[in-house]
């Protein structure tokens, strides 16, 4: 359960894995249990679909959002703001939404020396329908490059296998099968299995790894 995860939760993964949608949903879920939640949008890779686009909505829910200090949708320079204060502020749960791949994790260099690893989770969001993470080997290769770039060890996988609105339970189960093999090889546990409730027409099958984590589309508009 999100309230039992460590105080600082960093979301990483291959780009297109669904990190941002998961991070936004995670922050909203967490805000139901924690009085103070901060979402750090440290995505210096993507130019569209960044969690800062939902800043107003998240702030209304009581979630503090940190993003670039240079305001404007059209800013695509890798600038981030006061990302270290929630690391020091022990009273806040801090969710960090990184950009994709090893490149996206480089921004962690700023907070890495300040992190207390005993209070930090480093979750790797995986969608096995993405070509580069469609096999256990691909997932581990991606994980190693992210770990090398960030200096952190992945502490849990999030099975976010989906085909957007064409997602089926069979598809999620296939993702589970692949990710379990990656879990076996890496000894990194599958923490969550995330899915958007409105697109699934059947309940999740029993016996899948990870805690079920139902989500809503926050980043994707109805017509997308």
């Amino acid at each position: 359960m999100v309230q039992h995860d460590k105080r600082i939760t960093i979301m990483t993964g291959h780009y297109g894995s669904g990190k941002t949608e998961f991070a936004v949903n995670y922050a909203i879920k967490l805000s139901q249990f924690s009085p103070k939640v901060t979402l750090g949008d440290l995505d210096i890779v993507n130019v569209y679909f960044r969690s800062r686009e939902r800043k107003a909505q998240l702030m209304e829910m009581g979630i503090d959002v940190i993003s670039s200090s240079i305001e404007g949708d059209s800013v695509d320079i890798p600038a981030v703001a006061a990302i270290t204060s929630p690391v020091r502020d022990k009273s806040t749960r801090y969710i960090v939404d990184l950009g994709g791949n090893d490149t996206g994790t480089m921004v962690l260099g700023r907070i890495r020396p300040l992190l207390d690893l005993s209070e930090t989770d480093f979750f790797m969001v995986v969608n096995t329908n993405r070509p580069s993470t469609s096999s256990p080997e691909g997932i581990l290769k991606e994980m190693k490059s992210i770990e090398a770039a960030s200096g952190l060890k992945v502490t849990g996988f999030v099975n976010n296998t989906n085909l957007i609105r064409e997602t089926t339970v069979e598809n999620i189960a296939m993702g589970d099968k692949i990710l379990r093999q990656a879990e076996g090889l890496s000894k990194v546990p599958i923490k969550y299995i995330s899915y958007v409730e409105e697109v699934l027409h059947e309940p999740l099958p029993k016996g899948l790894s990870g805690e079920p984590f139902p989500m809503r589309f926050y980043m994707r508009k109805d017509w997308m």
């Binding site: 695509d76 329908n129 109805d222």
Partner: protein, 350 residues
């Protein structure tokens, strides 16, 4: 093959490879940079060549060279970058060479914004280079359609020996959607017996751009126009949505058309008889789609200030029937404002 989830820009890169493209020349610009990034990884794996050129101008002229040698070559950019390529596009067109150019449009004019836009319609459909020419222009509305159109674009380019432009926008480029890849040529493609592949024992080939004689130049223009007549007769493509009993019709392409479809679903639930004509080819503009339609008003919806309006007016042959609503500069339309606009046009005429 099972579907995979890909970003529009990457999917276009893969589609190009599947269609036999082995040469890419380009220069980074948001929001299309994932396309060259993807091809820089993937083209060498299939024996292809990726070159990050020193500029857009250099890139399009490298395409010119590769095309002259008979290769399937691709370049991509976004609005201001495509503006830079215009001279080369004109040269390739004049040289009767096939090439594919992807434009992931963003807000303009000038450097504009990095957010999506559709304000390059005139530049790409009417021609941003000099002379009497057209390029075939395809306008995808989803990542899957972008894949299919890129594959078809290479065939169209080879079939007619002309550049083909994929006129998309940053949203399609950046959006993740499930896609599959099935390259199935629909046209008989002529041999490239004109290509500069080294004379050897064969015939001498020449590809020229400068005409030394005005009469020759005019004759070449006449040949180009014959090509365009054939393209206009054979290659118009469009989609109709809820048009069977429609009394009012939207005309919209690409991302705007997706938003418009969502607006139509809302309007239909409220009893409005509205439909959509979605041009899939912008050149040739699908004039055929407008024939025999009994439509009271055509509502042109774009993420520009109305660059397609004149084509809709010509297609329906009635200037007064066409009204326009759009946003620009990188602002994405919302279905709600399209609904509101439609109601202001239709009034109580349900």
């Amino acid at each position: 093959m099972a579907k995979v989830l890909m970003k529009g820009n990457e999917a276009i890169g893969k589609a190009a490879i599947e269609a036999g493209c082995r040469f890419f020349f380009g220069y980074p610009i948001t929001p299309q940079s994932e396309l060259p990034e993807y091809l820089s990884e993937e083209l060498p794996k299939v024996g292809g060549t990726f070159v990050q050129a020193e500029s857009e101008v250099a890139a399009i002229n490298m395409v010119y060279g590769a095309a002259a040698a008979g290769a399937r070559a691709l370049t991509s950019s976004s609005s201001p970058g495509v503006a830079l390529k215009q001279e080369g596009i004109g040269y390739i067109t004049n040289a009767d060479l096939p090439a594919v150019i992807v434009n992931m449009m963003r807000g303009g004019p000038g450097l504009g914004t990095i957010q999506p836009g559709q304000a390059d319609y005139r530049m790409c459909v009417k021609g941003g280079s000099n002379g009497d020419y057209h390029n075939i222009v395809l306008a995808p509305s989803s990542v899957q359609e972008a894949v299919d159109m890129v594959m078809e674009a290479f065939d169209l380019a080879d079939c007619y020996r002309t550049p083909v432009i994929i006129l998309s926008d940053g949203l399609i480029g950046q959006m993740m959607e499930p896609v599959d890849f099935h390259y199935a040529p629909k046209r008989e493609l002529p041999p490239k017996d004109w290509a500069l592949t080294g004379k050897g024992d064969g015939q001498k080939h020449m590809i020229v751009n400068l005409n030394m004689d005005a009469e020759d130049c005019e004759n070449h223009n006449i040949q180009l126009q014959k090509k365009y007549v054939e393209i206009e007769q054979k290659e118009q493509q469009w989609e109709e949505y809820c048009m069977d009993d429609a009394e009012y019709a939207f005309v919209s392409y690409g991302t705007s058309a997706r938003i418009t479809k969502s607006a139509i679903d809302t309007l239909r639930k409220e009893g409005y008889k509205v439909g959509l004509i979605r041009p899939k080819t912008l050149y040739p503009f699908p004039k055929e789609a407008f024939k025999g339609k009994n439509i009271k008003k055509y509502m042109d919806i774009e993420m520009s200030m109305g660059q397609m309006v004149e084509d809709v007016q010509l297609a329906c042959n009635d200037v007064n029937k066409v009204v326009f609503f759009g946003r620009c500069g990188g602002i994405i339309l919302t279905p709600e404002e399209v609904v509101e606009f439609a109601k202001s046009v239709i009034g109580g005429d349900k």
